[in-house]
Amino acid sequence: MKSAEKFEYSAENKKKYDHLLTRYDDVESALLPALHLAQDQNGYISESVMKYLSELMNIPVVKISEVVSFYDMFYNHPVGKNIIQVCTNITCSMFGGRELFQDLCRQFGAGQLKPVNNNKYMFQKMECLGACEQAPCMRVNNDYHGKLNLDEAIRIIKELD
């Protein structure tokens, strides 16, 4: 985790950022994609990320901070290498989504948004993930896994790098 270091986009991401700007009619509109890009690179939106984007995009740090804190998928604190999101909305809860979340936390000694196992994992209780037909469902990094029981969920998580 390069949290304390000064952040800047990698050459590849700077190129992606420049391309982003061509897709919008003003710089502010590119903020969400610019944050996604920065988070992909840095793991989370640290103060130095905000400072960097503030200078790059000419948006006050406080406005960026406000946006980061508003959305569940932006993190303003260090995260685990793998983010495991468990849905606890209506249908998933009907099929044990809440118990799944609690049991996984217990199994890995984790809590909501607290990285564990040398920052290998971080668990997040989520609202509807839009995959109710697969209840209970879990999103691991960018992939969905459905119709899970605890053993399967543990197996999927333990297979992660």
Partner: protein, 427 residues
């Protein structure tokens, strides 16, 4: 080419291509009958397209059910004026997963629908706002858009005309409120996704203060069929006031959950019994949430007699919403269902309006105080009163969306809710 590699336009307007392997690839989509409507639309011209859409009676499929043709009619007709098309792919209403199912298999039906719609509306820049969780689906759409650029269906001078169009996929970052059209616009502008007062409506003053047409994925994806076969033919399906087909996302206690496309006006009984193979678990139906978590609950009796169109569900005091059906069998505890619902709205209130920020918090806390042995006998009345004060008092509909299911459950399952509340502690 074998018949099963051709689109099935007789039965479906939206899932016409879903049986075709790898239809996400532009060549396969095209050889199955895709992009024919786009070519046709460019020959028809903008006015004729708008006429067909109006004639079809297609209603907004995101939840509100407002006639698409009428909404398009409010939009500036000045083709030189800068304006935007914004496709709502946020799909955040609990219970809903139809747009995901549609675009992850067939992204081109949406892109074709957007090209036709943008051409009709005189828009040269369009965005697909997709919820952040749908990362893979965003990639699928981006790849499909790239294919469309390569074929020159996007970019400058499309099909040799003077019409240009760029489509960009814009990922959200986990916020229910961004599915509300003005919240979505705030989010696209790089801000917190807080809704804005209407009027002015986005069609007049939207993204960056300019006219913006916001349409749901399913609405835009119905446009190619309508252009291809005519607005009148679209009315072969559905009812007089709710024409056409609709995608329904069905989850909960059924043997076969998933997405189906059926004519509006079909009975809920037929959906549950035939399409979903019946109620699972206890096999006894208790209740149905018919249109996403915001829709007031239907008792088993009501569910067995209702038809799935905008009017019939409204007549039962609920709403069709996004077409998200959550089926509950007789073992389900109504208090728990309400608890999960209220926790959601409390978490997702954007905090802008006091009745919503405080109201969603209080509803959630009142129902949960049984955990601390603090429930009171009149808590149900208190919740009813709090919910009443949340109705129609805020900028957007989230407050109502929390109040409506609460009052629905109080009205229809009061006894059970009272028992739930009076059973102190965590049961």
């Amino acid at each position: 080419m074998s018949e099963n590699l051709k689109a099935n336009f007789e039965k479906y307007a939206l899932l016409s291509y879903h049986h075709i392997p790898e239809v996400h690839k532009i060549d396969i989509y095209e050889s199955a009958g895709g992009y024919v409507s786009m070519h046709k639309a460019f020959k028809m011209g903008p006015d004729k397209i708008k006429e067909e859409v109006k004639e079809s009676g297609l209603r907004g499929r995101g939840g509100a059910g407002f006639p698409c043709g009428t909404k398009w009619g409010f939009f500036s007709k000045d083709r030189k004026q800068k304006k935007y098309l914004l496709c709502n792919a946020d799909e955040s209403e609990p219970g809903t997963f139809k747009d995901r199912y549609l675009v992850e298999k067939n992204p081109h039906i949406l892109i074709e629908g957007m090209i036709i719609s943008a051409f009709a509306l005189g828009v040269d820049k369009a965005y697909i706002y997709i919820r952040g969780e749908f990362y893979q689906q965003a990639k699928i759409l981006e790849n499909a858009i790239e294919e469309a650029y390569a074929k020159k269906y996007l970019g400058k001078n499309i099909l040799g005309s003077d019409f240009d169009l760029d489509i960009t996929v814009h990922r959200g970052a986990g916020a229910y409120i961004c599915g509300e059209e003005t919240g979505m616009i705030s989010s696209l502008e790089g801000k917190k996704g807080q809704p804005k007062l209407k009027p002015p409506f986005p069609a007049i003053k939207g993204y960056r203060g300019l006219p913006t047409m916001v349409n749901n994925v399913e609405t835009l994806s119905a446009v190619p069929w309508i252009v291809n076969f005519g607005g009148k033919s679209y009315r072969q399906w559905g009812t007089e006031k709710s024409p056409g087909t609709k995608l329904f996302s069905i989850s909960g206690d059924v043997f076969r959950p998933g997405v189906i496309e059926v004519p509006l006006g079909i009975s809920l009984k037929e959906i549950i019994d035939n399409h979903c193979h019946g109620v699972s678990g206890s096999r006894i139906l208790k209740a149905v949430i018919p249109g996403g978590s915001s829709a007031p609950i239907l008792t088993a009796e009501e569910a067995m007699e209702v038809t799935m169109d905008y009017e019939a569900i409204a007549a039962k005091g609920s709403m069709l919403g996004s077409g998200a059906i959550i089926v509950l069998n007789s073992t389900r505890n109504i208090g728990e269902i309400l608890k999960w619902t209220l926790e959601f709205y409390h978490h997702e209130s954007c905090g802008q309006c006091t009745p919503c920020r405080e109201g969603t918090g209080w509803l959630d806390s009142i129902l949960k105080r049984k955990l601390f042995h603090k429930s009171k006998l009149d808590d149900v009345d208190l919740m009813d009163q709090v919910a009443s004060n949340m109705r129609g008092t805020t900028i957007c509909a989230l407050s109502d969306a929390a109040a409506m299911p609460t009052q629905g459950i109080i009205k229809k399952f009061r006894k059970e809710l009272e028992t739930y509340i009076s059973t102190q502690g965590n049961n």
